[in-house]
Symmetry: C2
């Protein structure tokens, strides 16, 4: 019978995580050397299997934490991948999630206790299975997301310069942006607070530091807008 629960096939359900980070070198992606067969030792997204009593969103969080120690990361579902032979061992459907995190905040502990590595998106090694394709889709989604939601809160340090924000957008969109136009567009979003404090690392003159106005930022997360950069 077509729709009998009892005769329907059951399958393994995996979750793979595309974790984006950002630092002075640009947009990065977090990868691990796979620690079990098949493809042991090859570069891979962080992944694992869904447990029966678990929701996908939670599985993504659990799996991310188990490989990185990272907690309370906001992830979004990307897509379900189901090619028959995507996993050579056994039929496995994988649901991919992606997240944005601040590298500096998390890196020390993570590198100490686990073994993930950051790669510049452009320099990422070949990945196992269909993970390259997942990564490509995630980048596309991130670019799109950038055009309708604010980005940066999760990726930048608490205090940051306008230049850092500009470089974040440039590295996500992979194109140069006009500095003055960018600043006025970002300012028109009204999500930044200019501090009375300068960062003196980057120049003699020093550049003002900003933070996000969390409330306004979150409000913008809910209501899509068009940001034409």
């Amino acid at each position: 019978m077509l729709n009998s629960y009892s005769t329907a096939d059951k399958v393994l359900l995996a979750v793979d995580c595309i974790i984006f980070g950002f630092d002075h070198e640009g947009l990065k992606i977090l990868l691990i050397k796979r620690d079990f067969e098949p493809e042991k030792g090859k570069w891979s997204l962080i992944g694992g299997f869904l447990k029966k009593e678990e929701v996908l969103d939670s599985a993504a969080l659990r799996i991310l934490e188990s490989y990185t120690g990272l907690q309370d990361i906001y992830m979004e579902q990307l897509h379900a991948y189901s090619d028959i032979d995507r996993d050579p061992v056994e039929r496995t459907i994988s649901v991919a999630y992606y997240a944005l995190i601040n590298i500096e905040n998390h890196n020390a502990e993570m590198i100490q206790n686990y073994d993930p590595q950051w790669f510049k998106v452009a320099d990422a090694p070949k990945l196992i299975f269909d993970h390259d394709s997942m990564l490509r889709h995630a980048i596309r989604r991130l670019r799109y997301r950038t055009s309708i939601k604010p980005v940066g809160f999760e990726l930048l340090p608490e205090k940051f310069t306008m230049r850092q924000l500009l470089e974040l957008y440039e590295s996500i969109l992979d194109k140069e942006l006009d500095k003055r136009n960018f600043i006025s567009k970002i300012n028109s979003l009204d999500i930044l607070v200019k501090l009375d404090e300068k960062d003196m690392q980057s120049s003699r003159k020093g550049s003002y530091l900003y933070t996000f106005d969390k409330e306004k930022y979150d409000a913008k997360l809910l209501n899509d807008f068009v940001l034409n950069l």
Copy 2:
């Protein structure tokens, strides 16, 4: 062990289809009375279980065809739903797909041999499980899609009037559009061919019929744009 294939749980994987159609009454959604327990007799999206040797995309096509006879329908994956108790019988993860189809082209055969029914989106009955939530997401996705890809080829008859196209967009976006602005924006997409033929049903004067320029339409499907309606 965390990532052992042999100890990982297997789950049922369902596919549910949100089928959008359009006719003179507006945007519609195709539903069936569920023909098996639980919730037998209640309104439901068209759905079924993934088979082990099947890709999700194909499962969506197979399931749609089994309930409607519809073939060669282009569907897009929407989201994977995994609430623990979303299906009361057994843990089931469902991947939702959505599609756009032309009601008039397909209706006769479908209604004859199967028992699905069209509902105006606004008048849809309460659905089983989390199908209401799937439908809401699909509508949101369709609206978004409408702002970055052309819509209509799959939903309108071969030849259609500008008014029909306008009403399609209005019913998807659920708002009134300015006729003249709409026409000039659509024309600027350069995807329509104006025919030397009028539809005399709707008025004394008659209104010109259009078709889509399939090539240009398809090209626009690939490259996103912003259509500010």
